[in-house]
Subunit: 143 residues, 2 copies
Amino acid sequence: MDIAEVAKHTGVPASTLRYYEKQGLIASVGRQGIRRRFAPGVLDQLALISLGQAAGLSLDEIRSMLLPNGQPSIDRQMLADKADEIDALVKRLRAVSRGLRHAAACPAPSHAECPSFQKLLKAAASGALEKRWRRPGLKLPYK
Amino acid sequence: MDIAEVAKHTGVPASTLRYYEKQGLIASVGRQGIRRRFAPGVLDQLALISLGQAAGLSLDEIRSMLLPNGQPSIDRQMLADKADEIDALVKRLRAVSRGLRHAAACPAPSHAECPSFQKLLKAAASGALEKRWRRPGLKLPYK
DNA sequence: GTACGAGTTGAAGTCAACTTCAAGTCAAGG
DNA sequence: CCTTGACTTGAAGTTGACTTCAACTCGTAC
């Protein structure tokens, strides 16, 4: 497959594929003239990368899960740890969501007078919402 | 309060407070000599900013929720929409977490042969995990 | 044989949210 | 008066994951 075909199948732009190759996340199986050729297995590798990103892994971390041949070799403990991390995040997010909903439904004329909104603010200020995180991490959908 | 005091109370570094002021997210109430003085209300504003960030809002979006005086003026519909967005994210994250856990517990000798891992990969590839997002968004905890 | 479209390269640019830096300004203590 | 230490400034640097760019090389079609 050439780069455009991989891009079409996966939705990953050609520029990103070249970037991933430079980063050692995927490999081409040679050239036809000057053009890269990819084995079909690259589609699985890209799926794995997608999955890792959805799990909040950096490309570096994802690379560390790949053998030189591109086969995944994943530390099961690491998977479990990541799952724990995600669960903790989910817990926080659900608290935020509950708070937002309550604030949205709150009948006070302005949020300044809404007790549940005040409580939310207090929680945010107290760090219960984990104010300051250290990694760039998970992306949110735009819409 | 001077900037160090605000920093101490909120955990927000002084450099960030200056940055927020430049961005119009908070305001100082004048100077004592060359130094900024903040009204206590700035603590609430910072809590609101924290909350917004926890909800995945950009600083731009957060600013759009603030009146020029710093009082929040929040569109309740927007809150509800944000809550929906977060719930959708939570749903995806829980799927990822479940998948990771299953893969971690999977008895197959290598992940290449684990059926549930394959299924996860397939889901990732099919876009069920929402591969390509448009906003920088939510940060993950480092630990 | 030459024009075209799709690929190639390395380098540089983008984005958000900060942080870091050098150089300067103060207030208070000794 | 002089040092110290906390603050000030604008400008530049950081991070990760890409994207964009100009300049170049192919294979194919006309």
